[in-house]
Symmetry: C2
């Protein structure tokens, strides 16, 4: 109501209140004041503490929820997520879903770089159990004609390799790049052109390289595999 007109009051007024709240909560987590899994005060209390209305606070919470930082459980409370790579990169899938034309090719270029690296790492680190799982999906993929099932095992095949690479962040990104709708859109056309045989051969090659613990071969096989789809898509888009 008063305060010295110039100078400005202590609560540095920058951006919207909601934006400020988002930053403050994010900062609290960044500084370790809020541990993963910990429960936050109620929306009402939180709003009071940060000096804003519950509505605005709810928007801040929603924003952080989308970012994968917080998790709101109806009737229970608001919690900090485990901050796993998967939590934070969940929105990554949206990019794949909304991308069109040239951007799809770019996404596959990114995927080629990561998938080949993951395969190389996996070749060096994969455990016998994980190798067994990879073989399982490979066999299941070859044993059925149902496109849905093939797609499912295809996804699982690559996921298993990404995990075996021992880099959760990379695995989470690849997961996003293979989001359900993305894969469906791109592969629909690709596999309808009788590319099943080629896909099987390429998957087999990747598995062989993994079994042989040959990083370079795995890298090459994975890169070639993604490049095949990439080339096809490039032709479709007309680039």
């Amino acid at each position: 109501m008063n305060e010295s007109p110039p100078g400005g009051p202590p609560p540095a007024p920058k951006g919207t209140v909601t934006q400020r709240a988002i930053e403050r909560i994010k900062a609290m987590i960044g500084e370790g004041l809020l541990e993963p899994g910990q429960r936050l005060p109620t929306e009402r209390d939180l709003a009071a503490q940060l000096g804003l209305s519950r509505s605005s606070m709810r928007e801040a919470v929603r924003a952080l929820t989308v970012m994968g930082v917080l998790e709101a459980r109806h009737g229970s409370g608001i919690y900090v997520t485990q901050l796993q790579a998967g939590d934070l990169l969940e929105t990554f899938g949206v990019v794949a879903d909304l991308s069109r034309g040239p951007r799809l090719v770019e996404l596959l270029e990114v995927r080629r770089a990561l998938e080949s690296t993951a395969a190389a790492l996996a070749a060096a680190r994969i455990t016998p159990e994980q190798l067994k799982a990879v073989e399982g999906h490979l066999a299941a993929m070859n044993a059925t004609d149902d496109p849905e099932e093939i797609l499912a095992h295809d996804l699982a095949f690559h996921r298993e390799i990404a995990i075996a690479a021992g880099n959760e962040t990379m695995a989470a990104i690849l997961e996003g790049l293979s989001s359900r709708t993305f894969r469906t859109r791109v592969w629909r056309g690709y596999q309808e052109e009788g590319a099943y045989a080629r896909t099987r051969r390429e998957h087999a090659a990747i598995h062989r390289a993994l079994a042989a613990r040959d990083p370079e071969a795995a890298r090459a096989a994975a890169a070639a595999h993604v490049a095949e789809v990439e080339q096809w898509l490039r032709a479709q888009v007309g680039t």
Copy 2:
């Protein structure tokens, strides 16, 4: 008020109203009903159309804003973004900001894979103007002792290369992986150990490979550059 008790009413009840609104708007954009840059109806109208309160609608808009899909301009309206890679991958920086310990190493592994690929692509595609810009940042970086300035030109150096690679998506991801706070945190310690000379040498090597239009050399130089930091960080974390 009535309706046949079983069966359930038409408006398929799944998840929260806000969540449904998010999906519906996202779907509209995905199906091309909403073009990039287009203005949406007002919050009040949108809420009425989708049959929910303005509060809930605002949360939906906030969520899509965080995802980089929508943009709200105070006093003007809500607009669909250009859906550029940069818009959609803005939240990627949050991952880098909130990551600690082992995950930082994982992020650098990802960066190594992408940065080396980008360098290879850039070597083949870079234009004389872009090469000039790269040289400019290289020179500026060597001409000052101010850590802040060095960091700024360092970032610009890598950004220029990422852009020259001609893959906006890859550039956007790398941008996120080099977010201000991330770089500051990691490089603070690294460069204080007198790594400036080494950094300069490595940057020069990358530039040399680009000038020579040698993709393989560029890939190797970039990979080695990131690997240096990665090794240092690995030692710090104790992995």
